[in-house]
Symmetry: C2
Subunit: 245 residues, 2 copies
């Protein structure tokens, strides 16, 4: 039985169960705990760390819902097999590229703070004639054009500038204004490109586009962004993890 080394700071404002679950996650991701390893049982872990069993259980549960641990009654808890079992996260293309080391660059094609668009207004749940902020950007990965990103935002973002949009990703800009999308509904499809799209993305005639339209909402379920994106299918794909139940 691997005896995980854990330090718990009772004076920290971070909840005990979260301190514990973070250190367990770290132990798995850096290989101190390996797939298939049996995990110390709840009772002994609780006693060893001076925590109550519910607290330890809660920490373990956090890893279970992420698929990092597997609990079996009567048997014990084991580290799940290798697979990247992470839940889908709401990420931005800009950050994805930055993380992957493919320096993202953005060119603003259109910025219209007075755009009346009925479908977009519907998506943002405001009256149809409401003037919206419309942003159309061309996103590069390194030197290659990768995607055309069209987004509609509520009027409160009318002060966004081209410089803002070219220096940072849209989601970072929203965060800076304390707007936090927490859930989004996306539809992913494919279609052939228009002439303009082919020109902008430098594509051949027969190459298809991968499309994604997104409705993003904050914690209260208020719409905060509506987007219509298209990607060069030879340079981009969506990775998704789905779960049963």
């Amino acid at each position: 039985m691997a005896q995980l080394e854990v330090t718990i700071d009772r004076n920290s404002p971070v909840p005990l169960y979260h301190q514990l679950s973070e250190q367990m996650t770290a132990a798995i991701s850096d290989g101190r705990l390996r797939p298939g390893d049996p995990f110390e049982n709840e009772l002994s872990l609780a006693e060893r760390l001076g925590l109550s069993r519910p607290t330890v259980r809660r920490a373990i549960s956090e890893l279970v819902v992420q698929g990092l641990l597997v609990r079996r009654r009567g048997i014990g808890t084991t580290v799940a097999n290798s697979v990247v079992h992470r839940r889908d996260e709401l990420t931005s293309l800009h950050d994805d590229l930055a993380r992957a080391g493919r320096s993202p660059r953005t060119e603003v094609l259109t910025l219209d703070a007075n755009c009346v668009d009925e479908p977009a207004a519907g998506a943002l749940q405001v009256p149809p004639e409401t003037p919206l902020v419309f942003v159309e950007r061309l996103r590069f990965a390194g030197d290659e054009p990768l995607a055309i990103l069209a987004n509609w935002l509520p009027p409160q973002f009318a002060d966004l500038t081209r410089a803002d949009l070219e220096s940072d990703g849209l989601y970072n800009l929203l965060h800076q204004r304390s707007v936090r999308p927490v859930v989004a509904h996306q539809t992913i499809g494919a279609r052939s490109a228009t002439g303009r799209e082919r020109r902008l993305l430098g594509m051949g005639t027969s190459q298809p586009l991968l499309t994604m339209s997104r409705h993003a909402y904050d914690a209260d379920g208020r719409p905060v962004e509506f987007g219509d994106h298209c990607y060069r299918a030879d340079l981009y794909a969506f990775d998704i993890t789905v779960h049963e139940r």
Copy 2:
């Protein structure tokens, strides 16, 4: 404050928190609780139903992670706004079509119980020369061909017949054999179709394909299926809900 009518059966084998959460989910989905409605607070709900607060909290938590309820400390719990806030479920195309009332029909193109395929063996984490079960199907929605589904399965499924595959979806067949995929990693992309694919799907020359490759795993993280699917992009799209954190 809406007083939700709930009946709890203490003799049922179903956990109390789950009985409660199911009835709350039902109340939201059938409109008895409407978006924005304040939710009865935990203490009063616990007392009214004769349950402990932890039990009530756990039931509420289930709806919170699904995005159906929003908790705010000091304020209370409210029903989240309208949006379909459901986590991604692992579904099969066959069931999706059946639910949508578009009678699914399947034509088996290939069934090979002795297929040696190195990439597929790698995906299923078995030695490269292992004979796998390879299934290739053409899926119709009503009269229209919709998708070509290629799947590789471990040798234990060598007894699958064409009749099995044409009468039922692959996932139902797996379930009948107590194999339960619980998590899958999918990559969604697009490409142009080959001549054979165009013929099978009855597509024009310039129409693109939507592609999805899937690695599915059971609760222990063992690979149970590897699939490579392509869909007519004009007839199919993926709906996905993503969450922050």
